[in-house]
């Protein structure tokens, strides 16, 4: 295998020419050799779409390497940095494929401008042994969530928690990005934590109220 140092990789890639072409060809080989093994947990390697996924990921990764190598800070091996880019490209693509048929209209049907109300489903038939006090805690937490969280935050919670959408897809649907979505939900967690503490509800109490026997 290659024995390039980080400086070797950068020197080769930073100037157009044979060295750059050779370096890119080596990265191409490395990606094709090591990426598929990590992706088959999400898409079976005998799936007809698998090879196309690998092809597209490798191409996009090499483009991004050329675009972003000046920002490489040398905090890891250069190859690890390239693998990181590839993994993000591939998994983002896989999540998008999986969820592309769900539309925001479908999810938002029936909500008004106040956003969705959080309603926790307790199925008395499936969980006949639940205690009344457990259900009380659940209803209290539910009421606090509806009171404390913004309509947007409740919307995200429902999209992620009820519909099972991944964060980057929610971000795309709401025309924001994954980073901003994380910050928004961090704010939601902070608000809720403060309020639950103020109301004297402990994490243990909540977890035991929400566990199913």
């Amino acid at each position: 295998m290659d024995k390039r140092t980080n400086a070797d990789w950068l020197a080769a890639i930073s100037h157009a020419g044979d060295d750059r072409e050779n370096a890119l060809a080596d990265l191409d080989d490395l990606l094709r050799k090591y990426l598929p093994g990590a992706l088959n947990r999400w898409l079976a390697s005998n799936d007809p779409r698998f090879n196309a996924l690998v092809d597209e990921t490798v191409q996009e990764t090499l483009l991004r390497v050329l675009q972003h190598y000046p920002a490489f800070e040398g905090r890891s091996q250069f190859t690890t940095w390239v693998f990181k880019i590839a993994v993000r490209v591939a998994l983002t693509d896989l999540r998008r494929r999986r969820w592309k048929n769900i539309s925001l209209d479908e999810i938002e049907a029936g909500w008004d401008e106040e956003g969705p109300e959080i309603h926790v489903a307790i199925d008395p038939v499936a969980q006949p042994e639940r205690l009344a006090e457990q259900n009380d805690v659940v209803r209290r937490v539910e009421a606090i969530m509806n009171d404390v969280l913004t309509p947007r935050q409740r919307e995200v919670l429902v999209m992620v928690g009820v519909h099972g959408l991944p964060g980057d897809q929610v971000a795309a649907m709401l025309k924001t990005n994954r980073n901003a979505l994380y910050k928004m939900m961090h704010d939601a967690r902070s608000r809720l934590k403060q309020r639950l503490e103020a109301e004297g509800l402990t994490t243990d109490e909540i977890i035991s109220a929400f566990s199913q026997q």
């Binding site: 090591y34 992706l39 091996q77 190859t79 993994v87 928690g161 009820v162 099972g164 994380y182 967690r189």
Partner: protein, 110 residues
């Protein structure tokens, strides 16, 4: 940390698919895992972009068998709250472990 084990157990149950939901209510375990994640909520959390810029270093520390969570606690905290970054870290680890194994092997042979 017993509560953490409970949360992980709750997390590992995937929420039911859309069609299975009675009145589109939120499953108990979803709210429980959200409520559970409050215990680990801190003021100075970093978001996905910053984690992305640190993830290659974090994965290499893990691959060396060192305590990455102690060395880079803010990345660990984010990974606990963010399923997308978590699965990207898992996949990255799988790639670099396979690569390093071959590399070691080649070094021994060569």
């Amino acid at each position: 940390m017993k509560w953490l084990d409970k949360i992980i157990a709750l997390f590992s149950k995937r929420p039911p698919a859309m069609g299975d939901l009675p009145q589109k209510g939120m499953p108990l375990q979803v709210v429980a895992s959200f409520a559970g994640s409050l215990a680990g909520t801190q003021p100075g959390e970093i978001a996905c972009d910053e984690v992305d810029s640190l993830m290659d270093g974090f994965a290499e520390i893990m691959a060396r068998g060192e305590d990455a969570s102690r060395i880079m606690p803010l990345v660990r905290l984010h990974i606990d709250h963010c399923p997308e970054c978590r699965e990207e870290l898992e996949a990255l680890l799988a790639v670099i472990e396979a690569y390093q194994q071959d590399d070691h092997h080649a070094a021994k042979v060569g």
